[in-house]
Amino acid sequence: MTEKTIVIAIDFSPSPIGRYRTDSETSGEAFRVDHLAPALRMYDKVTVILDGTDGYGSSFLEEAFGGLIRKEGFTESQLKNKLTIISNRISYKFRAWNYIADEQRRQPRGGYNFALA
């Protein structure tokens, strides 16, 4: 089994800013496209460590994590199996998983993951 750990503050940027690349090179979109989605496709398990940055706006978190479903084609159940999010601030972790669940619900055909029930 292959595993990858991404420490955002070291592997991406200590200052994550904004939603889209047009806002900043350290945006949620840049993180998702350049780091998170490729790692999720390449490795069996991916751990993302959120600690050590200047903080996250909801815009960054939603685009990085909700975008995995909206734009990268992952499902919530796949992410539950593959992705681990670690943070000293419980709200970041909670929000990231909430954005994933929200986006799954917005998908066509309901997008509910009945396997988790």
Binding site: G18, R19, D23, G57, I90
Partner: protein, 147 residues
Amino acid sequence: MTISPFVQTLALFAVIVGWIVTNRQNNKRETRKEGRSACDSAKKYALEISAKGKKYLCTRDDELAFEVKSELDLLEIELSRIPYFAIGQNSTLLEKFILFSESITENDFEQKNAPHLRPTDERILNIIRQRNQLMHEVERQFKLQFH
């Protein structure tokens, strides 16, 4: 006159019980003081963050966005000092904190060329609403935990 061993034991027992009761009361008072300080500090941060959040959305000054994120982090640290903050989905305090954070940092937060909002914009009013709800919840938790 000699004191009987029974009375001596009884006196010693009374001293120990007295010490335990006093110690418990002191601990309770200290915990309450600590809780009060966490709540006051959290409320102070919430006020500052909402003011900076409102100003950011009206001016789109990047420095204010940085300060908002940084102070939201500090606010969460203060809220974590209040018992039962971090119990996941069942925590009303955590929920109110998240709603407050999102009211400022959602959608076009840190977006280039985002419109400058008017002070009476619904989004600005929502920040105040969410801040007040968070502050009410902080006080409710204090009463629940420390009264």
